[in-house]
């Protein structure tokens, strides 16, 4: 009676896909030739900057070095200053919290949106997908500008609508004025921007589940929730895990939206996330040695947090 738990879908991550068995080719040069273009492009665009960043993180590199004074090797001073600098840890914790919450909500809404797309009729699905496309296509600078406009203290639509509710006085409420509501607006903006990609990716996974499996479960009386938990989720899990990882990485590195929102709000450090903090250290105060050190620490912290998951991804990749 029980629905087959291991749906024979092509995309099962953990079990080798029944289709392609990679025969161990004669180890010709072909794979190396194939990855050469990508390697060259990466080296040309990122090679020098990465080396420069690693070297600079061990130097005292300020504006005078930018104007020709030879930089001074200072060993781990930059990293030490960082560790003892309370503000860095505050910004790091704030950014991690922000990216976990934003990424989680994005993916949850994305999954629900995908399931919804799968459940509704063709025309309604098209309407939903077109509106997602419009939202996804809107450039970051334009979307952030509009959100600042919507949440504006005096002329914003949000305050106007909330004010219309009897008993609610939101007149002149300064959304960007205190950290909590500032990050709420930032999170809503980034979720709004990211859901389209997530929902399309998950929807793609859903259409893989063969119709028979879903009908079989329904006939067996499995409720919507059981069907979701026992069939849809396991099926979509591989897409889900990759999309969640990417969303976490992107939301931890968010910069443009926060800069523009801060321009409209407060210049104080209490509103910084890692992106604006690094830019402030580097450009604004001209301490490029410190900014490089922070960037490397952020890379290591991101890797440390996602290592368990990344290793599993690599292992599965090997198994294929």
């Amino acid at each position: 009676m029980s629905a087959p738990t291991r749906t024979p879908a092509r995309a099962r991550m953990s079990s080798p896909a029944p289709g392609p068995r990679i025969q161990p080719r004669r180890t010709t040069g072909v794979p190396y030739v194939l990855i050469v273009p990508a390697l060259i492009a990466l080296l040309l665009g990122l090679g020098y900057p990465l080396i420069w960043q690693i070297v600079t993180s061990f130097q005292k590199y300020g504006l005078s070095q930018q104007f020709g004074k030879p930089p001074e090797f200072v060993g781990f001073d930059n990293f030490a200053n960082l560790v003892w600098d309370g503000e860095f840890w505050a910004v790091l914790v704030r950014s991690l919290l922000f990216c976990v919450v934003t990424a989680a909500v994005t993916v949850v809404i994305g999954v629900l949106m995908a399931v919804l797309m799968n459940a509704v009729g063709r025309t309604v699905r098209l309407i939903l997908q077109i509106s997602m496309l419009f939202a996804w296509a809107m450039p970051v600078a334009a979307a952030t500008t509009v959100f600042i406009w919507l949440f504006d203290r005096r002329r914003g639509v949000v305050n106007y609508l909330l004010d219309a509710i009897p008993g609610v006085d939101m007149n002149r409420y300064d959304w960007l004025g205190n950290p909590l509501t500032f990050f709420f607006v930032a999170s809503v903006l980034i979720i709004w921007m990211s859901v389209p990609f997530v929902s399309f990716a998950i929807y793609a996974g859903l259409t893989q589940i063969s119709e028979e499996v879903m009908e079989a479960a329904q006939i067996d009386g499995a409720g919507a929730w059981q069907r979701f938990r026992r069939i849809i989720l396991p099926m979509v899990r591989p897409v889900l895990s990759i999309v969640l990882l990417l969303q976490l990485i992107w939301d931890l590195r968010v910069f443009a939206q926060i800069t523009l929102l801060k321009d409209a709000g407060s210049k104080s450090g209490d509103f910084d996330l890692l992106g604006t903090y690094i830019y402030k250290l580097g450009t604004a105060t001209g301490d490029f040695g410190m900014a490089s050190a922070v960037s490397i620490v952020v890379l290591l912290v991101t890797l440390a947090i996602s290592w368990v998951y990344v290793r599993e991804l690599i292992k599965e990749d090997e198994a294929q």
Binding site: I40, A41, L44, T145, I148, W149, D152, R153, R154, R155, G156, L260, D263, A264, G265
Partner: protein, 54 residues
Amino acid sequence: MKRKIASIAAATAALVVLAGCSTPSEAPNPDDAKGQNITFWLMGVTPRTLSVTT
């Protein structure tokens, strides 16, 4: 449009050319101002913000 085609042609040049480029040659005698084209950067006076208090 001419500049556009030139930049596309440059783009399709093998990326290796990128590493090989050398900086343009030295400008004419710096002491004589005759014919020197110069640029002048102006700063917006006060920091303008996005604040919609305007």
